[in-house]
């Protein structure tokens, strides 16, 4: 298979990158390891309003459905059930469909693998019924399956509250939030209000989850002493961290930025990594809000096309600047600061970023 641009990951960033590259005239291949495109947006039933120009505010999965419709109407070649597993010595990305493994010959790559949820360990966390908040959300919103009847949510961040609310709406009883810090970290007042009937145990940690064959109860250390409740579902929401394997495979340098989720590939204002043929988009870059995620896809696509000469540098610079301006309006301030920091640190290196040995 051959293309101008190969995009790895068909979440919102990858699809946005694919559509942008295609619009500017590139031949694009988009692969995703899942059986359908859409990434983690496929199960977001909450409303998104801070979207870039051209996007209608809607619930997440409607936003992605619209994008997927455009995708299939475009000339982008979409391969689901195709996973990037490695790289050849000439730098080409290797992909498997489960039956065979082969290179995709592209002149530039955009890596948009997304982020994964951080684990939170405690005795019994390996029991069936203990899962990430994201897994529970997939079950209810993508699979129409209830993961349990009585749950606790570990963590009080925005995502924890979002999933707790959606579980609650599907009929799951949320018994408590368990938060090790001294206060709730969710910044969304409306969400907090909607779940104000759920007790929040702060300065609390799970002592143990127990059960025969699956989780049946949980014991929690709280400032008021030990609390024990019967639950059949424990959700862990401990934040997200960028998925790194595709970048490491492509020899992209990593750097540490706490507010971008920990270790993250180093990239510049073109969203180019230290491997000049690899660009980054979306959650893997530590960008967390949907609007900015969509814009990073566009920026990465423009830079990739500049790299391979489909766009000239002036055009590319104009298109990029337009999108960065819009992105900054939509971006969360802590993330924005950390991202600027990262880009600044890339600038202090040789420019353009040189491939690390």
């Amino acid at each position: 298979m051959e293309a101008d641009v190969l995009i790895v990951g068909a979440g919102p960033a990858g699809i946005s990158a694919a559509l942008t590259a295609e619009k500017f005239g590139a031949k694009v291949i988009l692969i995703d390891e899942s059986f359908s495109p859409g990434g983690q947006l496929r199960q977001q039933t909450q409303y998104f309003s801070n979207l870039p120009t051209g996007y209608a505010p809607d619930i997440g999965l409607k936003v992605i459905e619209t994008l997927i419709k455009h995708l299939y109407a475009s000339s982008v070649q979409v391969y689901t059930n195709h996973t990037m597993i490695g790289a050849y010595k000439n730098g080409m990305i290797g992909v498997t469909d489960g039956n065979k493994t082969f290179p995709i010959l592209a002149r530039a790559n955009i890596l948009a693998p997304g982020a994964q949820e951080e684990a939170k360990i405690f005795p019994g966390w390996t029991l069936p019924g203990v899962m990430t908040a994201g897994a529970a959300q997939i079950l209810i919103n993508r699979e129409s399956v209830l993961p349990g009847k009585r749950a606790v949510m570990i963590g009080t961040n925005n995502f924890a509250f979002t999933v707790a609310k959606q579980l609650h709406d599907c009929g799951v009883t949320i018994e408590a939030f368990i938060e090790e810090k001294s206060q709730i970290t969710c910044s969304d007042g409306i969400l907090r209000d909607e779940l104000k009937h759920v007790p929040v145990w702060t300065e609390s940690t799970v002592q143990i989850a127990q059960g025969t064959g699956q989780v049946e109860r949980v014991s929690v250390h709280t400032p008021e002493g030990r609390k024990e409740i019967d639950v059949d579902l424990i959700c862990i929401s401990n934040g997200f961290t960028p998925i790194l394997e595709p970048f490491v495979i492509m020899d992209c340098e990593l750097t540490y930025k706490k507010h971008l989720g920990g270790w993250v590939p180093l990239y510049n204002e073109k969203l180019q990594t230290t491997n000049p043929s690899c660009f980054i988009a979306g959650n893997a870059a530590g960008i967390t809000d949907l609007g900015p995620i969509l814009l990073t896809g566009e920026i990465a696509a423009i830079s990739a096309l500049e790299e391979i000469g489909i766009l000239n540098s002036e055009e590319a610079e104009i298109e990029r600047r337009k999108r960065w301006l819009e992105l900054e309006k939509l971006e969360n301030t802590a993330v924005c600061q950390a991202r600027k920091n990262l880009i600044a640190s890339s600038r202090s290196r040789q420019s353009p970023l040189t491939k690390s040995k």
Partner: protein, 115 residues
């Protein structure tokens, strides 16, 4: 936390085992991996990467940012050997040697030498 708490789901390695490795001088995830098998299972440290890094940070009193992730290796996800073998037709530039072939080559060389 209870020292017997499992950190690596795949290989079922607990906090105590990781701390013991650190006590024996291990400083990176990869050091711990080789001593304990932590992170060597099918998920290849995708899930335990940061919990282990946190344990190293706490135990050695080192900032988290100074503890690199483990070496993330190919394949990015488990792949059937058959699927890996299929797909590339042309193996003529193979760098795979054979044990047998090698010994015979060495043997031939030996006859030319007077040792």
């Amino acid at each position: 936390m209870e020292k017997s708490t499992i950190v690596c789901r795949c290989e079922e390695i607990n906090i105590e085992e990781i701390e013991l490795a650190i006590k024996n001088g291990a400083r990176t995830f990869d050091d711990i991996k080789r001593l304990t098998r932590c992170g060597m299972g099918p998920c290849q440290a995708k899930i335990c990467m940061n919990p282990v890094r946190e344990i190293i940070a706490t135990y050695t009193n080192t900032p988290l940012e100074d503890i690199p992730p483990p070496r993330l290796r190919m394949p990015a996800i488990p792949v059937r050997l058959g699927a890996l073998a299929n797909g590339v037709e042309d193996f003529k530039e193979s760098s795979i040697a054979s044990v047998f072939g090698e010994s015979v080559e060495d043997g031939d060389e030996q006859n030319d030498e007077s040792v």
